[in-house]
């Protein structure tokens, strides 16, 4: 298969970026999208130019490191996959593919298609955990959790932190990411003691970092490679209201 690629190139955080066009041919339909970029990169190195930088790691759809905005879709046109699991058979021969980095104010571009997503970690650091230190915990079966709740929590917890929800959202909102973590811990009894302060702190951090507001368009849900559901956002809103109204704890801003 042959493709024309329009790829965003930007030397560093401050440099002005531009689109560059590359032609690539003889690509197997079984080739993954990132492998196609590998092939392109090897040809660029052959020509002594700098290869295209993109984030990637596990290449099996779980680490959340890869993330390209391909033809108007985060992670490309296939559903429920990350970029590394997208295969060229999903494109038509001769197609022009435009590849852009995630675009959001809290995700500055480091180089080419690599963006800095540490903002997501910063939100987690504000309370995306149960404050249990090592040791001194009760037996695993001392806390009973209904299968339904445990499964639901697992679904929320399967977020891989790739940032596709932010990239997809027209407002660059991180609500799906934040709500997945808030939901997971709100569903489990272990997360209850800190629930009220957690949701307030995490939302405050999310706002401070410059993510947009949620307008319930659900683009995040549509593009999430792990199919995290919008009901998580509703649950976070509920948790937030309860925390603001009923709890005496509040965020110091």
């Amino acid at each position: 298969m042959d493709f024309t690629l329009k790829i965003w190139r930007q030397e560093n955080r401050k440099a002005k970026g531009r689109f560059e066009t590359y032609k690539i041919s003889n690509i197997s339909p079984d080739c993954s999208f990132l492998e196609m970029l590998d092939i392109l990169n090897e040809s660029l190195v052959d020509k002594l130019s700098h290869p295209i930088c993109f984030d990637h790691d596990c290449r099996e759809g779980i680490c959340g490191m890869c993330g390209l905005y391909i033809n108007g879709h985060p992670h490309g046109p296939d559903s429920a996959v990350t970029t590394c699991q997208l295969h060229m058979r999903k494109f038509s021969d001769g197609e022009t593919i435009t590849i852009e980095p995630w675009r959001a104010k809290p995700f500055p571009i480091i180089r080419d298609l690599i963006v800095d997503r540490t903002a997501l970690d910063k939100i987690i650091q504000e309370g995306g955990y149960v404050s249990a230190t090592t040791g001194g915990v009760p037996d695993g079966n001392a806390i009973l959790i209904s299968k339904h709740k445990a499964d639901e929590a697992m679904d929320s917890a399967s977020c891989i932190g790739c940032g596709a929800c932010v990239a997809a959202c027209k407002n660059a909102s991180a609500m799906l990411f934040v709500s997945a973590k808030v939901s997971q811990l709100a569903l489990l009894p272990q997360g209850k003691p800190e629930a009220a302060i957690r949701v307030q702190n995490m939302v405050a951090k999310m706002d401070d970092l410059g993510f947009g507001n949620c307008t319930n368009t659900y683009a995040c849900e549509a593009e999430c490679p792990k199919q995290i559901k919008r009901s998580n956002i509703a649950r976070m809103n509920r948790e937030f209201i309860c925390a603001k109204v009923a709890s005496e704890e509040s965020t110091k801003r």
């Binding site: 930088c53 680490c63 249990a132 695993g140």
Partner: protein
């Protein structure tokens, strides 16, 4: 430095750890604040260690090669984590987990370490539950278990097919809490470039900031290496693209001994290679072997027809299928340990029965399971794995059997450590896959997660204090000393040298060549002839690298080619000791299979008489032959037997 003191405490096996904890030295809280610890790597072992040490009050700096700890490859572990909880009342116990792990490792692991691992396994589950890890539950609300290869009890705890992810996120959350508390400082997109040793003790590291190429110095009272394994020397493996053995090689160069490098695990259930462009192999969880049946055609002409696309697997009748694992190992069937399942697949493919177009592939069939359980149940158990398979291969695994083939997955070998997880350099500790200690010659499924977390949560926080208690008299480690200056200079020189080669071959090309040599000559089936061929080939490759590699870009910006080149240089060195170690070990055991040493039935033949030791390699300097030391393994409490899964 020839004596290998493994510092195993005296006494009964079951009392060793308790006794150690009771008699070890501790650091008082006021002094903990004065002590700096560096942790390199943010996987299960690194994150859990940093979080635990931070919670104790030490000043921890943790270095992450990616943008976030959550990217570490621990996240990709699918199946589960073992623990001797015996919740199922099926006869499990710490002793049995210990025994299974030793036996699974083909009697090449250290008894005391493995017993301690089994002992703390239960605490890991409790710890993870307390962190909010959503383990699978049954309808009563209690924790659910599944069974895994190499065990006859159900002791594996799981969270869908994403157990590694959930455990890593648990450790990551504990780490995040400590970062917020200020006890741990996080440095992302940093790669360790060298270890700094001052007066014989590990005192810091040199890193490269991958975003802008800056070389940085970091000092500390102790350094923990938690950088995972070196499976990527084979180029195609189930490891992530950024996984590398570079940090371990740096430590090896600075005097840490490297143990059992030849023990590499080949995982039987991976998606077969498709083409030259392939960058990595995808693992299908071992849990699939619970219900899937592995087969190849009985008739060689059927296999040929399938390879040529003239015949479909579903057209082959039951009588014409060879369920070779069930045939050869009736007791364990499809659930034999990984090394055995892998070799059996290779044996069939080498004999010409392979079904992939390349000839290297066997079927993993769920037809019987779907008939027995119904599609819904199979979907509930393995839905995400089936979906993943379909996305990659574009074949519906509910209708057709999956195609699988073994691939490099895990490295049991690693930095040599004593009972305290300390390497031969005082103050340098190694945990998780980066050390060698617990899995012997073969790791059982669901044990890697167990070991990483055991080391990080429950072992290192104790044993490190025993070392650090002496360090309270040392002031803050200055990074202005001669040793740091020299280390930084040598790192810079090395990088400049690589950039200056400006040769003809890309890093990927050379990496593929290395992978080819390793897989063909130092792979699943090894023999003296091939190994002797590999050693000079690796030497040539090393020369080729240092004279003909092409790295574009510059030193002062984000440069993935340079990163890969540095790792490749280290991987070539590592490959050399893997080959040498494989050559010296004249026996077949666990993941190390020497074709010359087999029983009459074609099974691996161990040689306990001559090889019941850990092969420990010492670096003697550039262009010098490394020297091997032996740490003899003494089995005081276990009765050593030939492994038998029939």
């Amino acid at each position: 430095m020839n004596t290998l003191d493994s510092k195993i405490p005296e006494g009964q096996l079951s009392e060793k750890w308790t006794k150690y904890k009771a008699s070890q030295k501790l650091v008082n809280p006021a002094n903990k604040r004065k002590l700096d610890v560096i942790v390199v790597g943010t996987g299960l072992a690194g994150s859990s260690a940093a979080a635990s040490l931070g919670a104790l009050g030490f000043n921890v700096k943790i270095f992450c090669i990616s943008d976030s700890p959550r990217r570490a490859h621990s996240i990709a572990a699918q199946g589960g984590i073992n623990a001797a909880k015996n919740y199922q009342n099926d006869g499990d116990s710490v002793d049995r987990l210990f025994y299974d792990t030793i036996k699974g490792g083909d009697y090449r692991a250290r008894e005391a370490n493995v017993y301690r691992l089994a002992e703390v396994s239960n605490s890991i589950i409790d710890q993870c539950v307390a962190q909010g890890v959503p383990f699978a539950r049954d309808y009563s609300g209690m924790l659910d278990n599944r069974s895994f290869g190499g065990a006859q009890v159900s002791r594996t705890f799981y969270a869908k097919g994403q157990t590694g992810q959930q455990l890593l996120l648990g450790a990551y959350s504990a780490l995040s809490k400590e970062i917020k508390a200020g006890t741990v400082e996080m440095y992302e997109r940093r790669e360790m470039m060298d270890l700094v040793v001052v007066d014989g003790r590990a005192r810091g590291i040199i890193t490269r900031n991958l975003q802008n190429g800056e070389i940085e110095r970091w000092g500390a009272h102790a350094v923990v290496i938690a950088t995972g394994g070196y499976g990527n020397v084979y180029f195609l493996s189930t490891n992530a693209m950024n996984c590398n053995g570079s940090a371990a090689v740096q430590c090896y160069h600075k005097g840490a001994f490297f143990a059992n490098p030849c023990f590499v695990q080949i995982h039987p259930t991976c998606i077969p290679v498709k083409g030259d462009y392939q960058s990595k192999l995808t693992l299908m969880s071992e849990s699939l072997r619970n219900d899937g049946r592995i087969w190849v055609p009985k008739k060689i002409e059927d296999a040929v027809a399938i390879r040529e696309g003239k015949l479909k697997p579903t057209e082959i009748t039951e009588e014409d299928r060879d369920y070779y694992l069930e045939r050869r190992y009736p007791a364990f069937g499809n659930l034999v340990p990984r090394d055995i399942a892998s070799r059996a697949a290779k044996e069939r493919c080498d004999a010409g029965y392979g079904v992939a177009p390349s000839g290297y592939g066997v079927y993993l069939d769920f037809k019987t399971a779907i008939e027995r359980l119904g599609r819904d149940k199979v979907e509930a158990r393995y839905g995400n794995l089936f979906q993943m398979y379909e996305k990659i291969v574009d074949v519906d695994p509910y209708e057709n059997p999956m195609m699988i083939y073994p691939a490099v997955h895990y490295t049991m070998g690693g930095l040599w450590v004593d009972y305290e997880l300390q390497t031969t350099i005082p103050g340098l500790f190694a945990t998780g896959e980066a050390n060698f200690s617990d899995h012997g010659a073969n790791r059982l499924g669901a044990s890697a997660l167990m070991q990483g977390l055991a080391d990080g949560y429950f072992v290192l926080p104790y044993t490190m204090q025993n070392y650090l208690s002496d360090q309270i008299y040392e002031s803050k480690v200055s990074t202005e000393t001669e040793e740091f200056v020299v280390a930084e200079k040598s790192v810079k020189e090395k990088l400049e040298k690589i950039m200056a080669i400006k040769g003809e071959k890309t890093v990927d090309t050379l990496q593929r060549e290395l992978g080819h040599i390793m897989w063909e000559y130092v792979g699943m089936g090894r023999n003296a002839q091939n190994l002797q061929k590999a050693i000079p080939m690796l030497e040539d490759l090393k020369k080729e690298f240092w004279s003909n590699v092409r790295v574009t870009g510059d030193l002062t910006s984000l440069n993935p080619e340079l990163e890969k080149a540095v790792r490749l240089a280290d991987h070539i060195e590592l490959s050399q000791i893997i080959a040498k170690d494989a050559l010296q070990r004249e026996e077949s055991c666990g993941g190390h299979y020497r074709e010359e040493f087999v029983t009459e039935e074609g099974e691996a033949k161990r040689n306990d008489q001559d090889f019941m030791f850990v092969g420990v390699w010492e670096y003697k300097g550039k262009d010098q032959e490394p020297v091997m030391h032996k740490e003899d393994l003494k089995y005081e409490f276990i009765n050593v037997q030939q492994r038998n899964y029939k």
